[in-house]
Amino acid sequence: MTLLEVSFSGAIFIIAVVMIRAVAINSLPKKTFLVLWEMVLLRLIIPFTIPSAFSIYTLINHNISTPAFFEAETNNAASAVSREYFMMIQGMGQPVTDIPSVSVWFVVWCIGMILFAAFFMVSYLRCRIEFRAALPVNNPYVEQWIKERPLKRRISIKQSDRISTPLTYGILHPVILMPKQTDWENTEPLQYIFSHEYVHIYRFDTITKLIATYALCVHWFNPFVWVMYVLFNRDIELACDESVIKQFGDKSKSAYSLMLISMEAKKSGLSPLCSNFSKNAIEERITAIMNTKRTTITALLSACIIVFVTVSLFATSAMAQADNKANDTPVISERKTTTSDDITDKKSAMTIIHESADILHYEDGAPYIHDILTNNTDSTIVETQYCMLAYSENGSPLKLYWNFLDSSTESSFENIVRTKANILSNQTEEYRGGWSLYDGEIMGDFLKVGNGEANQVAYSLLCLKQVVFEDGTVWNNPNYENWFKEYAGKEIDIDELQSYYPYEYKIESN
């Protein structure tokens, strides 16, 4: 899959999750959305596809006969981009581009990604430097709280005058950072705050956010991924709130909400850009907390079904995509994305086949050898050179006067012939006469050759020695010498004579 294809199907997936979220945010466990967003992330990050008959793309392919809409586009515009994208992922170094217009987009994408990644990295590092200077908290309640956590990782709680709302950072040594204004004597809000941050730590939300940020950097050009990023971060908070409420019971809902509101009120102002965005977020959050219900079996079951259906619809790709493409677009062979592996596959599949070589007779009874060739290569054959051997009914090799019209001819087992005849690519050669044999009894009016006996040829074995193609390339049969040694002048089993054809030549391209 190309980067654009991944981004496109990711966007469809995101739209689906946003819709589910809009309808069911307060009726499903919040964890449902976390799972869905994590699936979206996997879709965006992993370039592999899982073919499924239930995939939305399979359904589209079946119902609409023109899936070419985004396939054609992505094939042309994005194939090179994606090749480099995968190369980069695999750390394979230098990108190769054959189409300059594509490399422009690749460069733009690369620059964007580096800028976003650098921005997040710098602001993260700046904060980490700032947080290092946080001050320890010496408070018996805090010490007691830390002692009660069973987590293997050592949690510490610090305070700083550089922040206005509590936050958590660090993965191996998580730190809960509290604002300076924290009222350490009022333990009710403290326990909510600590529990909330503890859920973040326990669930490794820092890592999840990091992965989401990575996906954002890669798909920075996709507005739907930005939407995903914002909503995913909100849903992490909502799921966290939900589990705090479950821990403290329904009675805590109001107190917890009011604590959040008072914290929100303390937040600093001074932003020139004003919008309702974050106000909606806090409203959504408060409403969600107040609506938290005990998870019923029904809710859990419907959550599982929704996740299963959504994932199998949108996280998968069309089944047997290649087949569909081949049917829909016969020009498939013109795709330039063939890899070197494909080429060798294709070439090794090239063959020339000797379909048969029969002993036939003219109307007057004169015998001749008639052979049929099939050209399964991709170019026209213009000349063939091959060797003929003749055998009697019993399988004994026969010495023949192959060129009986020439009186000086000697008899021999083999007859090497060169023919100029065009056989087009993927064609079986039409009837074109054959090699006439001498029969002393029938051809009495001919000059008598040898002892003038009747034709005894019952079987003829033919083997190509050399083939010349239209483009001038010459193929020499590497097995010819072996073949000659094996058959020429040798007694051959009749079964073998009868089953010799079709005889296949594998053409290794130069």
């Binding site: 997040f120 990295m121 602001s123 993260y124 590092l125 700046r126 904060c127 980490r128 430097i129 700032e130 947080f131 290092r132 200077a133 946080a134 001050l135 320890p136 700083s160 005058d161 550089r162 922040i163 206005s164 936050l167 950072y169 604002p179 300076k180 956010k209 940020t213 954002l216 990023y229 914002v230 971060n233 909100r234 809902k253 109001s254 909400s257 009011l258 509101i261 929100e264 009120a265 937040k267 600093s268 102002g269 001074l270 932003s271 850009l273 004003c274 919008s275 965005f277 974050s278 106000k279 806090i282 409203e283 408060i286 409403t287 107040m290 609506n291």
Partner: protein, 119 residues
């Protein structure tokens, strides 16, 4: 003179005020013992204090001298600088770009009403 210092910078100044002029190395040792900061953290803070004009540096040995007495220091106002920090995550950046506007009294009332309505 109007010098505003953050808590962490005040910690550095406290060492100077209680021990008199001393080396950066010594400040770092004291604060490592007291708070657990590593050398880099303390040095960064000392440099900030120098920049703000609270400390004067003299050679040799990075000697530090407090330029202001304890009484003249003001607490820096948090809000001015908070906006510049987005702990590395884009949602904080969004929050900074899109809102960070203090909730108005009506908005807070509205939220509290949601709470009481849904209770």
């Amino acid at each position: 003179m109007d010098i505003k210092l953050f808590d962490s910078e005040l910690k550095v100044m406290c060492v100077l005020w209680s021990e008199g002029d001393t080396t950066a190395k010594h400040i770092s040792d004291v604060l490592k013992e007291e708070i657990g900061w590593n050398m880099n953290t303390t040095y960064t803070l000392i440099k900030r204090c120098i920049k703000k004009g609270a400390i004067e540096r003299s050679e040799p040995n990075f000697m530090c001298h407090a330029l202001i007495p304890k009484e003249e220091v003001q607490e820096a106002e948090t809000n001015e600088l908070i906006n510049k920090i987005y702990d590395g995550s884009a949602d904080k950046l969004f929050a900074a770009l899109l809102s960070r506007k203090k909730l108005s009294a009506e908005e807070i009332e509205k939220l509290k009403k949601i709470v009481s309505d849904l209770e």
